[in-house]
């Protein structure tokens, strides 16, 4: 048809509006290739939570094995497979998809006043690509499971469990593809689809965090894909990229791997920082302190974070100038991170804090993350790292950051947005029980690991010297507490989804756009798009009535 036909036909359309979709999604819509960003967000959250349970059970099995110095619960090979896939699942199938895919997809369009992401079909595709990735990981256990650790350094990864290792590589490449597709979607969406009334510096900080995360994922993920492709060829097609006998270099793999996998640490924490910046002002009833500082520090972390990767390789024959350079760049990352921490503390200072479960997890995150961040500074210093490299000190450090940081943040986000996602309130008493158990369990499990590391216990080994037994049993006890801590959460989340009290549109009296629509949001997000009249954190400007309502 020609251009001239368009006006006449356009007049006809409003008379018979085509039914784009049903009024409300049915339960089975959540199991299909659905292009609604909210459905995709929930698909990510639920799928990744299931993987979290799988990875958690693996962790508990490993902790049970480590209750005694001998290898009596898991065979050493199975232990290796568990530790490899525990790490892989928690990173690539839980924290990254839950925070970026889950919260990112659900919240970003709602926060910027868009009706969907820029590329809805691509968005759905990115989710469904992670499904075969998960299946490959699970399937690899029929071939012994990948056993070379989540880092899969050659030569170990080239000589152990070849089929399982290849499946592992394909799974990571698929997860990376999903991450790239999701990231370009976020960048274009945040850049181009904000409501016209929303300037960059009026955007909720979660969106700033997602922007930084997406840039980072776009830059670093392809390099990992390149490195893993070379590894796949080494394993299966007789190449020798990482085979020193034929001129290859194993350290090359480490560079390619860590060029992605250090930024991956920020992929796992930047969205969580975004969640923190949303949860804290709402529950402290105060405008966020240092909006621009928090927004730009995300971008700074993203930029500096690309130039610190060699701090994972201080013991890989790294020349001294490189150690100095990467020690300095690593310590610099602590600055923008500190800016955020201080801003959140300053936001709470003098606020009217409501100790909701979401806020408890956010405050818990602050404590845990500062601890993990400080041990990170010690590890980033080459002089210290040489002594504790590959010991339990490292394990303790990154679990404080990833569990005490990322997972606490995901819980804070779940408690905060559960009413918006499901339209039901969670039970606060169960939430608090969940928090207390998690907090105790985290510290019991991961704090003794620092001491174990300082005493010289190597990581990634199923058996250990009997002198380490007492502290290991403490860790194992803590992990059981952590396992139990999930029970109140699961009971709460499952029961409340159908039976919890109905949530209002804005149960927390928050100011960001997602709270202006129904709970759960209608399919097109809003009947009429919202207009920005005040900043996302303008809590000081409440009318007297609103303040009264909040205080009661």
């Amino acid at each position: 048809m020609t251009q001239a036909e368009i006006p006449t036909q356009a007049v006809v359309v409003p008379a018979t509006p085509p039914p784009h979709h049903p009024e409300k999604w049915k339960w089975y819509d959540y199991f299909t290739f659905n292009i609604d960003h909210k459905v995709i967000g929930i698909q990510y959250l639920v799928t990744s939570f299931i993987f979290y349970l799988v990875g958690g059970l693996m962790a508990m099995a490993m902790r049970l094995e480590l209750a005694t110095p001998a290898s009596d619960f898991l065979s050493p090979d199975l232990y290796n497979a568990f530790l490899t896939n525990h790490g892989t699942i928690m990173i690539f199938l839980w924290i990254v998809p839950a925070s970026i895919g889950g919260f990112g997809n659900f919240l970003v369009p709602l926060m910027i006043g868009a009706r969907d992401m820029a590329f809805p079909k691509l968005n759905a595709l990115a989710f469904w690509v992670t499904v075969p990735a998960g299946m490959l990981i699970v399937g690899s256990f029929f071939f012994g499971g990948a056993q070379a650790g989540w880092t899969s350094y050659p030569p170990l990864s080239v000589v152990t469990a070849n089929t399982a290792q290849s499946m592992w590589i394909l799974a990571i490449v698929l997860a990376g593809t999903s991450s790239i597709l999701g990231s370009l979607n976020f960048i274009v969406t945040i850049w181009k689809m904000r409501v016209p009334s929303m300037a960059w510096d009026q955007m909720p900080l979660f969106c700033w965090a997602m922007m930084a995360t997406s840039i980072l994922a776009l830059v670093s993920t392809p390099v990992l894909a390149a490195g893993l492709t070379l590894l796949l060829f080494d394993i299966n097609f007789g190449t020798s990229f990482f085979n020193p006998a034929n001129g290859g270099d194993v350290v090359m793999y480490q560079h390619l791997f860590w060029f992605y996998s250090h930024p991956a640490v920020y992929l796992m924490i930047l969205p969580i920082f975004g969640i923190m910046s949303e949860v804290i002002p709402v529950h402290a009833r105060k405008p966020i302190f240092g909006y621009k500082a928090i927004a730009y520090s995300s971008l700074t972390i993203c930029l500096v974070g690309l130039f610190v990767w060699v701090h994972h390789m201080f013991t890989s024959g790294t020349p001294p100038w490189m150690r100095i350079f990467f020690t300095i760049s690593t310590l610099i990352v602590a600055v923008p991170t500190g800016v955020k921490i201080f801003s959140w503390v300053a936001t709470m200072w003098g606020g009217k804090i409501r100790y909701t479960s979401a806020m408890l997890f956010a405050v818990g995150l602050l404590a845990m993350f500062v601890f993990g961040g400080l041990s990170g500074v010690t590890l980033g210093t080459a002089a210290f790292d040489l002594h504790v490299h590959d010991t339990y000190y490292v394990v303790g450090h990154f679990h404080y950051v990833l569990f005490g940081g990322s997972v606490f943040g995901l819980y804070a986000g779940l408690y905060h947005w559960y009413p918006k996602i499901t339209g039901r309130m969670l039970n606060e008493s169960l939430g608090k029980a969940h928090f207390i158990l998690t907090f105790i369990g985290t510290n019991l499990t991961f704090l003794p690991m620092h001491q174990l590391g300082l005493q010289g216990m190597p990581r990634r080994v199923a058996m250990y010297d009997p002198q380490f037994q007492t502290l290991n049993q403490l860790c194992t006890f803590g992990s059981i507490v952590l396992g139990l801590s999930l029970l109140p959460f699961l009971a709460n989340a499952i029961w409340s989804w159908s039976q919890g009290p109905k949530a209002e549109d804005n149960p927390w009296n928050a100011k960001t756009f997602e709270w202006t629509t129904a709970s759960p949001p209608i399919i097109e997000n809003w009947e009429v798009l919202p207009v920005l009249t005040e900043g996302p954190y303008a809590y000081g400007e409440e009318s007297a009535e609103e303040t009264e309502a909040v205080n009661t």
Partner: protein, 209 residues
């Protein structure tokens, strides 16, 4: 136009729609070109990864390429001329469709597709006549992996061009204001071309020195 959107949602959609509130996925300007460019930035970095590996191993090697695994130069040079020219040819197709000349679009895209196919055939011929394989030595590892990965991209670009040609059969599918698909195939083809220029310089030309 609008009546057909629901059944053909991959149609390029107008920037402004009368029923914006109902058909929300079409109410914003088309962002697909921006999305593609963002994706290609990321994809390009995968090549940067392979090139870096190549250069680092080159710097560490005593002879690069080693004896017995020298590269052929004439055929790849001809291939380079073909691929670089095809970037201009495909642009003629894009220019044609912007003037409403769909026949011109088809003509130039067919020529581009043929040039792409000749490039791939040339590469296959090169592989068969080189006398060494993927696993011969570290250089051949890098050589086959990088050129092969690029060849895969040429192949995908070829499929995109054939897709545009297939769709252009339908009357009115592409026009002066509906050519996002044409443009995206063109951008992808330019990307493949630019990568090849870098690749040709690094792997072939540098081997002279």
């Amino acid at each position: 136009m609008q009546g057909t959107i629901e059944s053909n949602s991959d149609l390029p959609t107008p920037a402004v729609e009368a029923s914006g509130d109902v058909a929300h996925h079409e109410e914003h300007p088309d962002l697909r070109v921006l999305g593609l460019i963002t994706f290609l930035c990321s994809e390009g970095l995968m090549f940067v990864g392979f090139f870096t590996v190549f250069l680092v191993y080159r710097a560490a090697a005593a002879a690069w390429p080693p004896e017995e695994t020298e590269v052929e130069l004439l055929l790849p040079a001809i291939n380079t001329v073909i691929l670089v020219s095809s970037s201009f040819v495909i642009h003629l197709g894009d220019t044609a469709v912007k003037k409403g000349d769909v026949a011109g679009l088809r003509k130039w895209y067919i020529v581009t597709a043929l040039m792409g196919a000749v490039f791939l055939a040339g590469q296959a011929y090169e592989y068969m006549t080189l006398g060494y394989g993927l696993s011969t030595n570290l250089f051949s590892n890098c050589f086959y992996l990088t050129t092969g990965f690029h060849g895969l991209h040429v192949f995908i670009g070829l499929l995109l061009i054939l897709g545009v040609l297939w769709r252009s059969r339908r009357e009115g599918h592409y026009g002066p204001h509906h050519h996002i698909g044409v443009e995206m195939a063109e951008i992808y083809w330019h990307f493949v071309d630019v990568i090849w220029i870098v690749l040709f310089t690094l792997i072939y030309l540098l081997s002279i020195f």
